[in-house]
Structures are given as structure tokens and as C-alpha cells.
Symmetry: C2
Subunit: 362 residues, 2 copies
């Protein structure tokens, strides 16, 4: 088996539907021309491969056997240190050594992040990494915004949020070829005085960050309506935002299902409308979206949704390939490093001019 | 005009649709037999009343003229101190003096809270008040859960969250005649080790609070699915949760509208299904729900949604009347005071038994 930088490492054991749907999604990606390396129980993976696609050996698809796996309920830091032969730790090791171009897992996101932090170097000057994902905007077809952090750093200081803003700017600037993405802070009101103590201080920091197009606070009810290209929050709040949106979509589907069951007339009309509704809500469907990316580390790691199905895994692998391809991720990281350096220089000049001002008598 | 404790004070000048729809909603409530006192510009209110219901003088409806009003963008604390003759400060003053049974406003929620804190006494031992509202649960028809805090206290210490849990328990126990409501913490995972530093410490506090039926953490994607009767979070996170849910519903409506416009076939099928969908999503519609209640102060203040329309205001006034009626709110506060006292006693006995344990040689 030849291993190239364009090969994508996939954690076959992570996620609610592992290994069955993860492996199938990987086969679909391999069928689309991607070189895939599956990490996990060779026995289990082989059974699924043989059943799903008997000629899988003709694809660019191989298995790296791992004797352990990390469960969704395992405590991240501990699990990563304890299970050295787990699919997450092994996949990350291949990424570290440059044997693959990216690593994708739908497993325990805390453990993926812990492994990434332990095994992959951080980009220069990055204090904390952030998990970032594109979410749909409904004002224009195929428009989106980048949300971060979605669980990388749960307790954030204002300077963490400022770095997230710079990392988000870099990612959107490179991936969407946007010169000056609009960056906003998620807060409980658009007024500058709204927010937790950390958010209010971050507001002041971002306002002073010369390289950013900071557009102020955005309220959670407006996130889907195109007010910003990058929305910044701490990892706890980001998780609440993302999961509330998912839960609300699920709740509406449930309400529609209840209503269909309760009325014959509804059943007919909704039967007609079902495909239209499904198509309409599609932009909010994570299975089409791939996964989230860890920003601030030197190699690309995709954190796929824990309940990723076959299609979601396929898209996450395609996304990983796109990011690894053409050194896009390296360009994002160069941009991040440059922005953090520029901000540091900006800070120094600010301090300097402040000192100078203070030396001038009134 | 005779003023009774059952009269409801309404801020006619607060909210996106003030004074027009606020006044109309108040007329509807008065028509349903509620005694209403409107606070705001007498001239503006009279014009609306005369136009909407020329015989309004036959209803139990009066105006208290206020020469000032507080805007949505005004900085809460400052505005409340500055605008002494505003509808919020005046309405709150009537509540303080016992001239009305409750105060309802769809205005600047920070200002309502600030006025409540300055003018109304806190319940004994309450450190911080919380804004609480019932949200729908989709597992059973007409089922709901209480969410708090939704913006009362933005930066919370663990002991604040513990008090919110006790206040939420008391409110649900009294209002829904539930003996042992299930209380959960909103977190970024159901595992006890998940959460911000404050949430993790609150988890330990709640686990040890004898009077609570603490069921652990709940994830944001599960809030609508009946896992708990009370869900506790800080005011910043609560705002993000509530507004994300509202924004998601709005986004889905927008996507459906886009999809209807783009296809003639969809227009027909969705036309058929529209009423079914509207009915299905109704439990998520805040206009039917009334407003949020400030818990932890001695008199009932309802914070209605800023974009409350006529129907929403009607429901908020009916809710205020229900709470003021039969001294329900007083019973909630007696329960809160008793729980906080019991917890204090529990703490002391815990410390005492701990001391005793430590004095016993192993």
C-alpha cells in the first residue's frame, strides 16, 4: 500500500453508527477517488467491507488495525493517555508523521481534541485551538457563515475569543476567497454593553484589532440571517447554539409527524408537501455539510457529527480531502500565524504610543 | 378608579410594537374581565384606544400618564436611574406600593430587571434573581419545561445556578402542582465532567441538594424532548438557547417561503399543507405563551417578548393575572424561602457531620 499526503485517515470506530455506516461512507469516498485509510478493528471492518462492497480491495482503501477504541462516554484526556492503540490516537499518529493528509473522526469529540493537542503541534502563538464549522445562512442560496468555537475551549478568556476571531477570519478568507470577512461576536444583545464579562472585554479587543472587519455583536436569533461571515463564541456557548438549532429542527419534525398522525387530511396534504419541506430544510441538514475543523493546530483534523450516517461521513471525508488538497490548510495556517504576529506587533505599537502619550505633559 | 391587588400594570411604551399592539392587547385582556392600568403617554394611548375600541371607558381600563419612556437600546441601569417618570419605573412603583398585583412589560428587559431590583425587595436569601419561562416539550401535547435564567444574571457563580434550580423547582411545584419536578443543568454533554467550570461545580452542588430531584446534565439538542421539568443555565447561555431556537424556527419558515416562491408545484402542495404546518409548529410560537417571570423578587413582574404582538401581550396579561390571583406568586416565594433556608440548614448539618466524621479516628 502506498501512502501519500492526500490519503485521508478515518476513525472507523467513532460515532453513534460506527463502525457500519462510517465504513460504508469511507467506501463511498474511496469510490469517488479518495485514498482512505481506516483505523479500527480489522475483523469488524473487513466483515462490513465484504458485505457492502465485495470488490473493495480494488479501491484505494486500507485498514490499520487498532486493538482499542475510545467510547463516547470516556473522559477525553484520560482515555487518550490510556488507550494508545485506539483508532483516535493511532489515526492522529499517522497524521503527525505525515503519512496521511488529514484525520476524520465522528467519535468522542473531547478525545479527538485532546489527541490533537497532545500529538499535533499548535500554530505559532495560538493559545487555544477552536472547533469551527460552516452553518447555513438562509438569505441567499448556498450562503453560509463560520461558527467557532464549538467545544474546543469551554472556558474562554477574552484573548482566546480574539484569537478565534483571527483564526476564523483566516479560514474564511482562504476557503471562500473573501478579502475582508465580517466578524461578529455572539452575544445576548447587539449593543456593545451586552454580554458576559469575557464577551464585553473581547468586544473591546476586537474593535481594536486592525486586521479584522469587526461588525459588533450578533444575537442568536439572527445567526442564520447573513449578518456576519464569522461568528465567534466560547466552546460552551457554541455547543449550546449548535445543539439548540439541531434540537429545534428535530422538534419541528416531531411536531409535524405528530400532526400528520393525528389527522387523515394532514396526512394527505403533508404527504404531498413532504418532499418540498425536506428540500427546503436541507440547508440545515448536517449530513450534507461534512464536519467541523479544528483550527489552531498544524494538521487538519475533522470532527464529524457524533450521529453521522453514511452520507455525512462521505461528505466529511470529501471535505478533509479538499482541505488537505492544494495545501489549503497550510495556507490557512500561514494566514493565522501572520495575523497573530501582526496583532502582536500592533499591540506593541499601541503600547508604545500609549507610553509616548503618557510622557507628553498635558 | 378603584385600584385592587388584582389590577395588572402594563407598560404601554415597551416593545417593538409599542404602543399600538400593546394597548390593543391590553384592551383584549380588559374585555376578558381583567382590570388593567396602562402606563405611558396618555395622549398616544388615548388615540389608540379611541380608534380600536370607542367604548373602552366602559372597561376596567385606566391610564397613568408617564412623560418618559426607556428605549430598547438604552443602557438599563443608567436609564432606570435617569428616567424616573418612565412607564417602567412608574409601573414598578405602583407594584411596589401594592396598588397593582403584577407588572407586565415588553420593553428593554435589562431595564425591567434593573427597575425590579432597585424597587422590589428580593425574597429572603436570594442572591440573584432569574428570568424564567415555560417552553414547549414535544413529547406530549401541552407539556412544557421551565427554563431559567434567560438573561437576569449574565455571569453566574455555581451558587447562583444552585439557587436558580431551587427557585425553578418552587415555581414548577406550585404552578403545575408537581411534587418533585426533575431539575437538570444545561451543559455541553450529559456526562458529569462536561461543562464550563461554573457548571461543573454547580453539578456537584445540585447533586448534594437534598430537596431537589436533580437528574444531571441535559444537552441543548434534547431540551424539547421531555428530559426535565426545569432546565438551569446562566443568563447568557439561556439567552443564546432561547434566541437560537427562535431563530431556527424563523429560518425554517424563511426556507419554506423561498422554496414556495421557487416552484409552482411547491406553491400548490405547500399551500395545502400550510395550515397543518402552522398548527404543528404552534407549540414553539411565543405569542401563545405569555412572557417570562422574574423569580427571586417579592412581587410578580412579567417580561414579555420584545416583539410581542397584540395576541402575545393579551396572553402575558392573562398570565400575570393568573400568577397574582389566589396568591400563587406568594406561595412560590414562600416555597423559595423555605427551600433556601432548608438548604442552608442542610449545609450546616453537612458541615457539622463532616466535622464530626473528621473527629472520629479511622
Amino acid at each position: 500500500m502506498s501512502m501519500k499526503k492526500q490519503t485521508i485517515a478515518v476513525d472507523a470506530m467513532g460515532g453513534d453508527h460506527a463502525p457500519e455506516l462510517i465504513v460504508r461512507g469511507a467506501v463511498d469516498a474511496a469510490s469517488a477517488g479518495i485514498s482512505v485509510l481506516l483505523f479500527g478493528s480489522e475483523e469488524k471492518i473487513t466483515v462490513i467491507l465484504d458485505r457492502y462492497r465485495s470488490d473493495w480491495r480494488s479501491l484505494s482503501l486500507s485498514i490499520v488495525h487498532c486493538s482499542q477504541s475510545i467510547g463516547m462516554a470516556d473522559q477525553p484526556g484520560r482515555a487518550v493517555l490510556k488507550y494508545k492503540d485506539s483508532s483516535i490516537v493511532q489515526g492522529m499518529e499517522f497524521l503527525k508523521k505525515g503519512m496521511v493528509g488529514a484525520f476524520v473522526s465522528a467519535g468522542n469529540s473531547g478525545a479527538i481534541l485532546a489527541a490533537a493537542l497532545f500529538q499535533i503541534n499548535r500554530v505559532d502563538r495560538v493559545i487555544r485551538p477552536a472547533i469551527a464549522t460552516f452553518l447555513p445562512s438562509v438569505v441567499k442560496e448556498n450562503s453560509s457563515f463560520l461558527a467557532l468555537d464549538l467545544g474546543g475551549t469551554v472556558d474562554c478568556r477574552p484573548e482566546h475569543l480574539q484569537q478565534f476571531a483571527l483564526m476564523g477570519h483566516a479560514y474564511v478568507a482562504v476557503m471562500q476567497e473573501m478579502k475582508s470577512p465580517r466578524v461578529a461576536l455572539l452575544s445576548n444583545g447587539h449593543e456593545p454593553y451586552k454580554g458576559s464579562a469575557a464577551v464585553k472585554t473581547a468586544y473591546d479587543l476586537l474593535r481594536k484589532t486592525a486586521s479584522l472587519n469587526f461588525v459588533g455583536n450578533v444575537e442568536a436569533r439572527d445567526i442564520f440571517f447573513g449578518h456576519a461571515d464569522v461568528i465567534v463564541c466560547d466552546g460552551f456557548v457554541g455547543n449550546i447554539m449548535l445543539k439548540t438549532a439541531q434540537g429545534t429542527v428535530k422538534a419541528i419534525k416531531q411536531l409535524l409527524a405528530n400532526s400528520v398522525q393525528s389527522s387523515f387530511f394532514s396526512r394527505i396534504t403533508l404527504g404531498f408537501a413532504a418532499s418540498t419541506i425536506k428540500k427546503a430544510v436541507q440547508p440545515l441538514d448536517y449530513t450534507k455539510k461534512g464536519g467541523a475543523l479544528i483550527l489552531g493546530i498544524k494538521k487538519p483534523v475533522i470532527v464529524a457529527h457524533g450521529s453521522s450516517n453514511q452520507e455525512a461521513m462521505f461528505h466529511a471525508i470529501m471535505q478533509a480531502h479538499r482541505i488537505a488538497h492544494d495545501s489549503l490548510f497550510d495556507r490557512v495556517n500561514q494566514e493565522i500565524a501572520a495575523l497573530l504576529l501582526a496583532d502582536l506587533a500592533g499591540d506593541q505599537s499601541t503600547s508604545k504610543s500609549k507610553v509616548e502619550r503618557e510622557m507628553v505633559p498635558d
